[in-house]
């Protein structure tokens, strides 16, 4: 039954930023702060660069959830990042509603370069939510 259990575990795609949240996710590994291995990271330069169509594509292809590890106020490209990432988030959730996809399957949190514990906490709780939603 282990195989069945493994298949049913939620898969999460994380859009992470190369300069800010990637170091935090790397450090989570360094500190052996374990989180589910079904969490995969794709690096992007800035969280406000994520196209809604990429998120929808990931969900439609089989990812149970998408997590945006946002730059927040630490974005090296400027202060407008936070607002623009929020716009990406809300625009995508609108598109998800139109396609009858639960908007809660997209989650965002600011993950700074030292926010390893916060990252692990977020992806664990997101995994729990998605697991309940699947069952």
């Amino acid at each position: 039954m282990k195989g069945v259990e493994a298949i049913s575990k939620p898969k999460i795609l994380v859009f992470s930023t190369e300069k800010i949240s990637d170091p935090a996710i790397d450090m989570a590994g360094l500190l052996k702060l374990h989180y589910p291995p079904e969490v995969y990271t794709v690096p992007v330069p800035c969280s406000s660069a994520i196209k809604p169509k990429w998120i929808l594509y990931a969900l439609e292809q089989g990812f149970d959830g998408v997590f945006i590890a946002a730059d927040g106020t630490d974005c090296p490209y400027g202060e407008s990042c936070t607002e623009k990432t929020s716009q990406v988030m809300s625009k995508t959730q609108e598109m998800m509603k139109e396609k009858n996809i639960d908007p809660a399957r997209l989650k965002m949190a600011a993950i700074c370069s030292v926010c390893s514990e916060a990252f692990v906490k977020h992806v664990k709780s997101f995994t729990e939510y998605l697991a309940k939603a699947k069952s």
């Binding site: 300069k19 291995p37 994520i50 623009k84």
Partner: protein, 644 residues
């Protein structure tokens, strides 16, 4: 599209292969479209493997390479250089991180870690299939470095950078330079005092035209990035005019009625509200501690150079790199830890050094002569139950050096060293030898049976089950118990929080790699030196200061930095100029041009930073980033979701 791809999967000794079945990963990816060869390697970064990769690329005319190993922060540049040496454009290389994001993150789940590693490598292969030859973008870098902290490491780095030709802003939060070394008299292994060492460094710093020293200065804001950091510095006034009459100043100090514990002497003495830490300290102008000043006016009556009208100032500085040399705090024992704070003759090693400083002719503490001294080692370091698992490196040498000094200086001194194994490593071993020959007694215990300090019949007694004499219970009646305390990170980490510099498990600033990139941080352009990074002696601090200065210099010296050419591109066939990309771009990189009879957007490649903020706002999906196009992203997503 690349169709002859080489894939290398690293064991990283056992860092990866202890948790990830690397051979299974290799087998899983060898049949992927475009993969021409796939290998596992014990250390991908090793010279022998790099040579083999160059040979493979040349012999097989590979047009894409993937290495699955540690974080790209460590070795992306290494492997880009490898493919360049083989004649391949470096942007035909893609890195897969299967250590920090797989083997280490999932060391509790080997099956999961292996499956994730397979997905990550397949995703990298998917990306490299579309990789193209690119040229890096050049941006200006300011030839200036902001150094935070004017202790020995900060000052040494400042001198080195200034002599190399960089402008240096040396920013010290305290009102005096020298950091912890200023608090020490004779230094281990060299025949000089901390004050003399500071004097030599300070003189060079202030004489050099390239260095601007700020004291009482704190960085309060930071923006920008490597090559062009903007920092805002708060300068707290000294409330004294620069041109002071020394006699009047001395009178002002004498008449000040305030008495507060002197942190410079670890609170074993008091100081006034107008003070300097010791005569001749640098800068030589004293300071008024405005938080503790009662504004009684006594000093103003005897000194016309007091100026309470001075205001806090803010300066905006620009630098290409920031070097952190913010030092350490001595460990403060907990209440009752080996009697500290409860038994009156229990002090720390830093306090003991100041007691020795103030003892003339006779070693005394609180009016009592001291003959028998018990030193308890590893207090606050190598903790079994506490968080400080590390060895503080300097304490054994420093303690034994001090013990020898007092034995030679004062008559009838008996030193008893209650230790857990002496670590006078390197050249300091001669002090251990000399101390033993002088008759010092060494008693040793394991970490689970530390010595006990207790008060009995008016005496302070230290007991130990000494493993050097078959665990015989021995005790010493001590006139003074010295807790040999180690180093801990600065309690105030505001600068670390401001710059978002990661801390390691020991809570000191964390380097990218302790061996390969020991003074760089994951924040591009920010380097670390001295004990801000972890316990070090002065020689080690100097080494790291010089290394950090060199790395910072390399970033700023040429005046130009190479950045990733991952800029935005416009699909002319889709674009119908709406202006939204122009609105979204924080750098004004877009312009409106006429092309083939219609208005379209054009990207200025020298201005675009590749942030991608324009991508989601285009209603026609006409924008992509080089290296992160829709087809690349979707291909990576496909690789990550499909069953292995």
């Amino acid at each position: 599209m690349n169709r002859k791809i080489g894939v290398y999967i690293c064991h990283c000794g056992g860092n990866i292969s202890d948790y990830v079945d690397v051979e299974k990963v290799r087998r899983a990816v060898e049949g992927e479209a475009g993969v021409f060869l796939s290998k596992t390697t014990m250390f991908a970064c090793a010279d022998s493997n790099q040579k083999e990769m160059v040979e493979d690329i040349k012999t097989n005319q590979l047009d894409g390479v993937v290495v699955a190993s540690c974080s790209p922060k460590l070795h992306l540049l290494t492997f880009r250089a490898v493919v360049e040496r083989a004649g391949l454009n470096k942007y035909n290389y893609v890195h897969a991180n299967i250590r920090e994001q797989s083997s280490w993150a999932h060391s509790d789940n080997k099956t999961g870690a292996t499956e994730k590693a397979i997905h990550l490598v397949k995703s990298a292969i998917a990306k490299v299939r579309y990789a193209e030859a690119l040229e890096p973008i050049k941006v200006k870098s300011l030839n200036a470095v902001a150094i935070i902290g004017a202790g020995v490491a900060g000052m040494r780095a400042a001198i080195e950078l200034a002599e190399a030709g960089s402008e240096v802003f040396l920013i010290e939060r305290e009102f005096f330079v020298g950091g912890r070394v200023a608090q020490w008299d004779d230094l281990c292994l060299t025949q000089e005092t901390g004050k003399e060492l500071i004097t030599r460094l300070y003189n060079k710093v202030v004489e050099h035209p390239n260095v601007t020293l700020f004291t009482g200065a704190e960085v309060v804001e930071n923006s920008g990035s490597v090559g062009n950091f903007s920092i805002r510095v708060k300068i707290t006034p000294r409330y004294l005019k620069q041109e002071c009459n020394k006699d009047e100043l001395q009178k002002a100090i004498e008449v000040c009625p305030v008495k507060i514990p002197d942190a410079f002497n670890f609170n074993i003495t008091n100081r006034k509200a107008i003070y300097h830490n010791y005569p001749g300290e640098y800068p030589q102008l004293p300071v008024i501690d405005i938080e503790n000043c009662t504004r009684c006016g006594a000093c103003e009556k005897v000194c016309k150079n007091i100026d309470f009208n001075q205001k806090t100032e803010y300066l905006n500085l620009k630098a290409g790199s920031i070097l952190l040399a913010t030092g350490f705090d001595p460990y403060e024992p907990k209440q009752g830890e080996f009697g500290y704070g409860e038994i009156d003759n229990v002090v720390t090693l830093p306090q003991f050094k100041r007691i020795v400083h103030y003892s003339n002719g006779q070693l005394t503490y609180k009016g009592k002569e001291i003959k028998n001294i018990a030193y308890i080692y590893c207090v606050g370091s190598r903790q079994v139950d506490g968080e400080n698992k590390y060895c503080s490196r300097y304490c054994c040498s420093s303690c034994i050096h001090t013990a020898i000094k007092i034995k030679k200086k004062y008559k009838g001194i008996h030193n008893y060293h209650f230790n857990r194994g002496i670590r006078t490593y390197g050249k300091a071993e001669v002090w251990y030898d000399e101390s033993s020959r002088l008759g010092d007694i060494y008693l040793q215990s394991f970490e689970d049976h530390p010595p006990i300090v207790e008060k009995a019949g008016g005496q302070t007694i230290v007991k130990i089950n000494d493993i050097l004499t078959s665990k015989k219970e021995l005790e010493v009646v001590a006139d003074l118990v010295v807790l040999v305390t180690g180093m801990v990170p600065r309690k105030d980490n505001s600068i670390g929080n401001l710059l978002k510099v990661p801390k390691g498990r020991d809570k000191f600033f964390n380097e990218i790699h302790m061996k390969l990139r020991p003074v760089e941080t994951v924040i591009d352009g920010i380097t670390i030196a001295g004990t801000s990074q972890g316990p070090k002696n002065i020689m080690e601090s100097m080494n790291s200061a010089l290394a950090a200065a060199t790395k910072s210099f390399a970033l700023v010296a040429s005046g130009e930095l190479s950045l990733e050419p991952t800029i935005a591109t416009v699909d002319e066939s889709k674009c119908a100029w709406c202006g939204k990309c122009e609105e979204a771009c924080p750098y004004s990189a877009f312009e409106k041009i006429q092309s083939n009879g219609k208005l379209i957007a054009k990207v200025n490649s020298s201005v675009c930073k590749g942030c991608g903020m324009c991508l989601p706002v285009c209603p026609e999906n006409a924008l992509n980033l080089i290296g992160l196009s829709d087809k690349e992203m979707e291909s990576m997503i496909d690789s990550l979701i499909h069953k292995v």
